[in-house]
């Protein structure tokens, strides 16, 4: 049986750049409305259109964590345990999409947990929570590395 995992996808053609998604995400992670650096999801305006930067639950960060603070839950979502984290930023720097976030003044990072708050907050329906095959997205740090390539 293949495992599925929930992941946020973006429909740029529908986005109007309200950033309600970011504010909704801030409420989840920081209990505030600031968005921006307090949001795991980021909407970036580029060449007259919009791009989303957000975690796709690939799980590469799991291998990077020296204290096993990052785990994949049985539902496939990758989560970070703030109590175990020692703030080393390895996961932040090694994330291929730069979507493991750090807020100013903090060393414990945060990330998208596919909760869907952003999807619900978007008035345009530009975000969607879908099920994808885990095997299609999973990544590990070393598998693409070898010796003396």
């Amino acid at each position: 049986m293949t495992q599925k995992v929930k992941m946020i996808i973006f429909h740029p053609e529908k986005c109007k750049g309200h950033l309600d998604c970011e504010r909704a995400c801030s409420r989840i992670h920081f209990k505030d409305d600031t968005g921006g650096d307090h949001s795991a999801i980021k909407i970036i305006k580029e060449n007259g259109t919009y791009k989303m930067a957000n975690c796709n639950q690939c799980g590469l960060c799991i291998d990077m964590c020296p204290v096993q603070a990052i785990k994949r839950l049985p539902n496939g979502i990758v989560v970070l345990n703030k109590d175990t984290c020692i703030g080393c930023q390895s996961c932040v720097a090694f994330c291929p999409d730069h979507v493991m976030r750090r807020a100013e003044g903090q060393v414990v990072p945060f990330k998208c947990i596919s909760c869907g708050a952003c999807v619900r907050a978007c008035p345009e329906g530009a975000l969607e929570l879908i099920d994808v095959e885990l095997s299609g997205i999973e990544r590990t740090v070393y598998h693409t590395q070898g010796v003396c390539e």
């Binding site: 799980g59 799991i62 291998d63 990077m64 964590c65 020296p66 204290v67 096993q68 990052i70 785990k71 994949r72 175990t84 984290c85 020692i86 703030g87 080393c88 930023q89 390895s90 932040v92 720097a93 090694f94 750090r102 100013e104 003044g105 903090q106 060393v107 590990t140 740090v141 070393y142 598998h143 590395q145 070898g146 010796v147 003396c148 390539e149």
Partner: protein, 783 residues
């Protein structure tokens, strides 16, 4: 031996690194209650728990085992300013507590384990190093050695920047620093193992507050082993519990016999424990600055390491193939710089054995992650024969120690590595000494009878392993006892017995100041010859690892460049030992724009990173040159202590000829074109004249030329450092560095200079022809 011991690959990763991982190691069950029942508390001391103040705990801890007393010494601003931390603190503690005649096994000798202000930071790679200092049995001057593992940060977070152990206990004890309860205890420990791989595991379980991996990660153990008790090569193993492998892994303070001193003091282990850890314990002044710098550097490692040093995948072993290609890989006691069989021990071979997909930093947050392991290694000899174990490493120097002994089988190198570690023996000193023994064996100066029955032909793994086991067993054979004290003592012994040509013995035994050489062939690198022989503690590469810069990257081509490099780099590299840092993240990955900078060898962007982190931790307003100043103070203080202890002159900085050129005909002939060419180019001899000379005649001419070059280099370096022509730091220099109140030190130096004057030693060592520049016009340029 063709059997492949790990071919079942059971020790490789099963699934993902958050999933189950099986090392396939032999499992031990310990009767912890029984171990605990042997612990009698000899002394307990309560101290006040305080938060760290911007990187400093603010006090030293002194434990006197003879009197069973403990003292807290406040860290003053003056000490911070003059010594910064780490090695500086260690030197200061020793300076305060020993005399110039104190020897390694006197109770007064201090074993100091030191942290530094940036030590324990998790946001940047390589910030967990412990820097330890003591009077070394090998050299009888200060030796400093650094290692990863959790001890230095945990000691600091428990409340102390530096621990000085003095005196001797009557029976085996453990020194326990309890950062949870705020207590120091000295406890007897009769039932625990002595060898480190077992002792570290026992004590990690014994001192963890509960039976969980999380609790075990909060405990760290410093230990030596049975070998340390009977050898001058004793190492300190520092443990770090790996939650994935569930192994108390070990990093080594390898050089200079620190473990020998630990066991001489009858300390079985030093244990530190902390309550929790968040990565913010240093209470830094500006965490955002640190985190931003860290992320930038981690990202560089992510993007570039693979195409640069490949440290994340194979560790420092990546150097083996490079050193072999450049004729720098020590082979058969440094006679040769490579070998056709070398490909058998290239990093590609060890890669097949290393466990991957696990973060391998020896401190949290190091993404350079060079601390590779082989898990589930089946041992073939010794007391643990038939058991499967985790081997930390091997690092480059251990692999190259293998080639130096002509050991071309990765499994034997791993076995050697494992037993050296658990017995508490330095792989470098052991390999360099054994390689020397093997060469003497080949010449018949040593033989089976003289070696207590061991057949030390090059490559004989069985003899090598038996030697280690017999050292650990406390074998009283004359050879075993002398051999375990290293190359200098073997030279003295061979010369005393008059078993061979004295000059040959002196030339081939690779030691300076009594410490064995690290594993690089420096024959063609004048800069590295100086890097080894001028190093304060003896010929270890960490002080001046210039060989790559000189021979591979060709960054210091002229004589002046080399002298300048020998001023700058030893001092700069010292800085890492002051702050509690590892050097590798400085230049084992470099920014892509680095070659376009003014001084690529210094990696300016990374120096700026260190400025940012140091100011981020301490809140100091500093610039790059301030880091250099911090280091120059300590560097000169250490040399001055050498002078004070009677080993800080030119005569103590003379390399054995094997490190400088071909000692034997076979070496000359193996690189005949190179040496003949040099006779032509450097000495102006015609081909005809060279052709008429015998090989020994050619060797002599080259030897004379090279020693003169070396002395000229030493002249230039001493002068550049502000030292006399005989290598003594001048009082003027020391005052300039801020040592105004250290009258005893200043007087010692002046006395040394006056005494050198009387003996006519304050003169340049090189033979300068008319018109050739000496390092300064005035001989007494400092006045």
């Amino acid at each position: 031996m063709t059997e492949c011991f790990n071919e079942d690959k059971n020790a490789r990763l099963i699934g993902r690194s958050d999933g189950p991982f099986e090392t396939n190691n032999t499992k031990h069950t310990w009767d912890l209650e029984k171990l605990r029942s042997g612990h009698r508390v000899l002394m307990e001391y309560e101290y006040e728990m305080r938060p760290i103040d911007r990187g400093y705990a603010g006090r030293f801890l002194r434990v006197d085992l003879s009197s069973g007393s403990v003292e807290e010494v406040p860290l003053t601003d003056d000490i911070k300013k003059k010594f910064t931390g780490g090695k500086g603190f260690g030197l200061k503690q020793i300076w305060d507590m020993v005399g110039p005649d104190t020897r390694w096994n006197d109770p007064e000798n201090v074993l100091a384990l030191n942290s530094g202000p940036m030590n324990g930071t998790t946001q940047y790679s390589g910030m967990g190093k412990c820097l330890s200092t003591t009077i070394s049995p090998s050299t009888n001057v200060i030796c400093d050695s650094n290692a990863g593992g959790y001890f230095a940060p945990y000691m600091k977070f428990a409340g102390f920047d530096s621990l000085a152990i003095t005196g001797k206990a009557d029976e085996d004890v453990i020194i326990f620093i309890d950062g949870i309860e705020g207590k120091i205890r000295i406890e007897t420990a009769p039932f625990e193992e002595t060898n480190s791989h077992l002792l570290a595991e026992q004590l990690t379980h014994l001192y963890a507050t509960e039976d969980t991996d999380e609790a075990r990660q909060k405990v760290t153990v410093v230990s030596a082993g049975k070998g340390s008790e009977n050898s001058y090569w004793g190492v300190l193993n520092i443990s770090f519990f790996d939650p994935r492998r569930k192994v108390a892994r070990l990093k080594q303070h390898g050089r200079g016999g620190l473990g020998t001193v630990l066991r001489d003091k009858k300390v079985k282990a030093v244990v530190a424990r902390i309550k929790g850890f968040t990565g913010m314990e240093n209470n830094p002044a500006d965490i955002d600055k640190i985190a931003r710098t860290g992320i930038k550097h981690h990202t560089q490692i992510r993007d570039l390491d693979k195409s640069q040093c490949n440290m994340r995948t194979v560790g420092t072993g990546n150097l083996v193939e490079i050193m072999d290609a450049y004729d720098l890989l020590p082979t058969e006691n440094y006679r040769f710089g490579g070998f056709p069989k070398a490909s058998k021990i290239f990093s590609t071979e060890f890669y097949k054995l290393f466990t991957q997909v696990i973060p391998d930093g020896c401190w949290y947050g190091c993404t350079m992650a060079c601390a590779k392991t082989v898990d589930g290694l089946l041992l073939r000899t010794g007391p643990y024969k038939g058991q499967r174990v985790t081997v930390d490493g091997p690092e480059y120097e251990t692999i190259a120690g293998g080639s130096n002994m002509s050991l071309w089988d990765p499994y034997w190198i791993l076995e050697f590595n494992f037993y050296c570690d658990t017995y508490g023996l330095d792989t470098i000193s052991a390999a360099t000494t054994i390689a020397f023994i093997m060469e003497m064996y080949e010449y018949g100066i040593l033989n089976k009878e003289r070696c207590d029955g061991l057949e030390f032909s090059f490559g004989n793994a069985d003899a090598i392993m038996q030697f280690l086991h017999r050292i650990a067993d406390g074998d009283q054979g004359e050879f075993i006892k002398v051999g375990a004290r290293g190359a200098r003592r073997i030279k003295d012994w061979l010369i005393e017995k008059d078993w061979g040509d004295h000059q040959l013995i002196e030339d081939c035994g690779m030691e300076v100041k009594g410490l064995e050489y690290s594993e690089y062939v420096s024959k063609e690198s004048l800069a590295q010859q100086g890097g080894f022989a001028l190093a304060s503690k003896g010929p270890q590469h960490d002080e001046a690892w210039l060989i790559f810069m000189d021979m591979v990257n060709d960054q210091i081509p002229t004589f002046k460049d080399k002298a300048e490099a020998l001023h700058y780099f030893p001092i700069w590299r010292t800085w890492f030992g002051l702050t509690g840092l590892c050097k590798l993240p400085w230049n084992d990955t470099t920014p892509i724009t680095n070659p376009e900078t003014d001084e690529p060898a210094k990696v300016p962007e990374h120096v700026q990173n260190y400025v940012d982190i140091m100011s981020g931790v301490t809140g100091w307003d500093i610039k790059g040159s301030d880091l250099f100043d911090q280091s120059e103070r300590v560097y000169n203080f250490q040399r001055s202590m050498n002078v004070w202890m009677g080993k800080g002159r030119r005569m103590d900085d003379i390399p054995p000829y094997r490190s400088m050129g071909p000692v034997t005909e076979v070496e000359y002939v193996s690189r005949k074109d190179r040496y003949d060419e040099q006779l032509k180019d450097k000495l102006g001899l015609s081909e005809e004249v060279i052709g008429k000379m015998s090989i020994p005649e050619r060797i002599l001419l080259i030897k004379e030329f090279r020693y003169d070059q070396y002395h000229k280099l030493a002249d230039a370096v001493y002068c550049r450092r502000g030292w006399t022509p005989n290598g003594v730091p001048t009082p003027e220099k020391m005052k300039e560095l801020g040592f105004i109140d250290e009258t005893e030190m200043l007087e010692t130096l002046q006395k040394a200079i006056d005494s050198d004057d009387e003996k006519g030693l304050n003169v340049w060592g090189g033979k300068y022809t008319e018109g050739e520049d000496t390092p300064s016009e005035k001989q007494r340029y400092w006045e």
